[in-house]
């Protein structure tokens, strides 16, 4: 009991870690998200993991000099290390180290960036990636350069002014005039200046440098605009665009206070802000990772195969957590749950787990559902295009009505097809003929959902593109599933297909669904090619081949049995 309480306390403390700092809104990739999500996305993009992302972001923003020296960029490839003359045994490199190393290959890199080869080698691809990540980090390090205290000796006249670019900007003209007079009187050689004049010259130079390097900095949008507070501006943008207003002062002050607090003790600033509750929800799901918990429970359901009651419990709990996670995404993104390829996979996975739970009394239905759900949840992250798994939608999909009808209907249909096909594999094994009834019923449900989904898609296409049917690859894929199911069911009714052939046909549905679902995106043509993901072709070919071999083997065994 004590252990349980301790664990609960640990969980609660880990969930409240960092105070409200991570709940500050930041506009990034088309939506406003909590700073903690932003930190995770960028940290994962650079380092490949999310550990300590918020702490890292605080250091990057508030103590950029130290942050630039932190080893962050992983480089494994010995060829890249050799090319950049980096130590062979070192695994992580800091921005400063990489910037120095890149100087030696500057001309080659410039050529690579200005004229990228059609098929870049692995090294070239990693170099381009490194360059982009370094640029992003560079921008991030300078986000608050207008608000960070300058590390310089201030001239006597300006001792009482906060030593930040923002505060000193009001005196820029005075400084400029003083410098003009100084140059008129003593010339441009600083050795002729007094100590205080040198300080003044250095202050003028520093302000000019900071201003020039910050003017285009738009990477961290956290300051509410004065016309529309929902439109967030980068700190430099607020200063240079004229979009600041008296209300902006309090936001600058909040960030300046956080900078001072962080620089005092290197810990995350303790602040209180009134964040929308969807930010709290997003932070919570980001921390507890419900899809991973669901995946673990599905795996547990498989492991507990010989303890059916526990296996069902694990599958049911997994599906419940999975469903809660999908509902959370609907609330966070304020749109139906399926808009990207990644989302379609996690939704189909839930359908499989949920249906298997309903069919829990049928032999092997629970392990089949747990296996397909777990498999789909495992491959889902590989389909993510960018670092944010809560991507905004391409324009053509951005209509909630059709996303909630056509897309949900057709993906639910995919889910039913996949579970049915999985059960059909089992039904080809000896002693599992009892599965014939659930397979038949599920194939009817699959036909209903896919046919309805396809028809709804036609109506959407008519409204959106002005034609009901255009033989688009995705439309053809959906039609193929419907025709395949109709053919199988008619074959079964007419007696032309015996049980074995029917089950083998239903098992093949997996391949047809995979082709209609992912294959179309590979073609990169047609109106549905918005979910294009590279590197899918090999995986898809391998899947189809393995499936055909498995079905072939099962077919022969069934025949022999």
């Amino acid at each position: 009991m004590k252990t349980l309480i301790a664990l609960l306390l640990l969980l609660v403390s880990s969930l409240s870690y960092g105070g409200d700092f991570g709940l500050i809104g930041v506009q990034h990739q088309g939506r406003t998200k909590p700073l903690e999500s932003y930190a995770r996305i960028i940290h994962k993009d650079i380092t490949g993991n999310e550990r300590g992302a918020l702490q890292w972001l605080a250091q990057t923003l508030f103590d950029p000099t130290t942050a630039a020296q932190e080893p962050l960029f992983p480089i494994k490839d010995p060829l890249i290390k050799q090319r950049l003359s980096l130590p062979e045994k070192q695994k992580l490199f800091s921005l400063i180290e990489l910037q120095k190393a890149m100087i030696s290959i500057a001309p080659q890199l410039e050529k690579l960036l200005s004229d990228p080869p059609k098929k870049p080698s692995k090294q070239e691809q990693r170099l381009i990636e490194l360059h982009d990540q370094m640029q992003e980090l560079n921008q991030l390090l300078r986000s608050f350069s207008a608000l960070l205290p300058l590390n310089i000796d201030m001239p006597a006249d300006y001792q009482d002014i906060p030593p930040t670019y923002r505060a000193l900007l009001a005196y820029e003209n005075d400084i400029r005039e003083q410098l003009k007079t100084l140059i008129r009187e003593k010339g441009e050689d600083p050795t002729l200046y007094t100590d205080d004049e040198k300080k003044l010259a250095f202050l003028g130079y520093s302000l000019q440098q900071i201003g020039a390097s910050g003017i285009d900095n738009r990477v961290l949008r956290v300051i509410p605009g004065s016309a529309n507070p929902e439109h967030l501006l980068a700190p430099w943008e607020a200063i240079t665009s004229g979009e600041a207003s008296p209300a902006t002062a309090q936001h600058f002050k909040m960030w300046e206070d956080m900078i001072a607090a962080y620089q005092a003790d290197q810990t995350l600033p303790e602040i209180k802000i009134d964040a929308p509750w969807r930010f709290h929800l997003e932070r919570l799901t980001g921390r507890i990772k419900p899809f991973n918990i669901a995946l673990a429970l599905y795996a547990l359901a498989l492991l507990l195969y010989f303890k059916p009651r526990f296996s069902i419990l694990a599958l049911g709990s997994g599906a419940a957590i999975h469903a809660i996670a999908i509902v959370s995404r609907i609330i966070i993104l304020d749109r139906p749950p399926v808009g990207t390829l990644y989302e379609s996979v996690i939704f189909v996975s839930l359908i499989c787990a949920f249906l298997a739970f309903l069919l829990r009394r049928a032999p092997l239905a629970v392990p089949a559902g747990a296996f397909t759900a777990a498999l789909l949840l495992t491959i889902a992250p590989a389909l993510l295009g960018s670092g944010d798994n809560m991507d905004m939608l391409v324009a053509v999909l951005n209509t909630n009505f059709w996303l909630a009808t056509h897309v949900l209907c057709i993906t639910a249909g995919y889910g039913v097809c996949i579970l049915t096909a999985s059960l059909a594999h089992i039904a080809l094994l000896p002693n599992y003929k009892k599965l014939a009834v659930p397979i038949y019923r599920l194939s009817l449900a699959a036909l209903l959902l896919t046919a309805l989904g396809t028809a709804l898609g036609g109506i959407w296409a008519d409204q959106s593109w002005g034609r009901f049917w255009g033989w688009d690859p995705k439309e053809n894929g959906a039609l193929l599933i419907v025709l395949w199911l109709i053919w199988l069911l008619h074959g079964r009714y007419s007696g032309n297909l015996d049980t074995r052939a029917f089950h083998a046909g239903v098992a093949t549905l997996n391949i047809i669904v995979a082709l209609a679902w992912f294959g179309v995106n590979l073609l990169s043509v047609g109106l549905h090619s918005y979910g294009f993901t590279t590197g899918l072709a090999t995986a898809l070919t391998a899947f189809c081949t393995i499936e055909l071999i498995i079905i072939g083997v099962l077919w022969r065994r069934y025949k022999n049995a």
Binding site: A170, N173, S226, N228, G242, A244, A249, T399, F401, L452
Partner: protein, 195 residues
């Protein structure tokens, strides 16, 4: 079998209900479709502000008279942040004087300069009077130097000149004009909108 069929019907009806709810919801005009968005889209340099009280400040005009912003409650106010060394500021300055002259009863123009000394301002105004036959001596035109940009940058967060705020009679910030890219007609239209 019946359970499965029932379930399928419930799911489909649920989906249809959800879809219809979203559909009808999307028929409503968006909550934030206001004047702001339209104005911002048509002219990026004019911003309509909302729910912002103008911060009070005190200033001494170039004639040595002391004022605070609250002294002018009940009148429309134009606050112009400018400087004699700023070319666009000088371009728009005569137009602002004209607008103030045309509305002597209910409009106050407060022009806060970021110049280092008063001398530059006097020199500029003298030249302006000679060249363009414009007066800045009307009682509703107040020209002052904002020392160390205490008001310009410290209170109004104006980092680039020129910027102009239009304040309503209740002393709420109504409009912000960034830069000198505006016409007298636009300005008059905004003034008419203000209560």
């Amino acid at each position: 079998m019946h359970r499965l069929i029932n379930l399928a019907i419930i799911i489909i009806m649920g989906l249809a209900g959800y879809a219809l709810a979203i559909h009808f919801d999307s028929q409503k005009p968006p909550a934030n479709a206001t004047n702001t968005a339209i104005q911002a889209a048509s002219n990026q340099t004019i911003i309509t502000l909302k729910n912002q009280k103008a911060p009070d400040f005190s200033f001494t005009d170039i004639n040595g008279q002391q004022y605070t912003l609250r002294d002018f409650k009940g009148k429309k106010i134009i606050i112009n942040f400018w400087a004699t060394w700023c070319a666009p500021c000088i371009h728009e300055f005569p137009q602002l004087l004209d607008i103030a002259e045309a509305n002597p009863d209910d409009l106050i123009l407060i022009a806060l300069s970021s110049d280092i000394n008063d001398e530059a301002i006097h020199k500029f105004l003298g030249k302006l009077e000679k060249q363009q036959d414009i007066t800045w001596q009307a009682p509703n035109i107040l020209i002052a130097r904002d020392e160390k940009q205490r008001i310009t940058q410290g209170q109004f967060q104006t980092y680039r000149l020129p910027e102009t705020y239009i304040i309503d009679k209740e002393q709420n910030l109504h409009t912000k004009i960034i830069g000198a890219n505006w016409t007298s007609e636009e300005f008059q239209r905004i003034l008419k909108l203000i209560k």
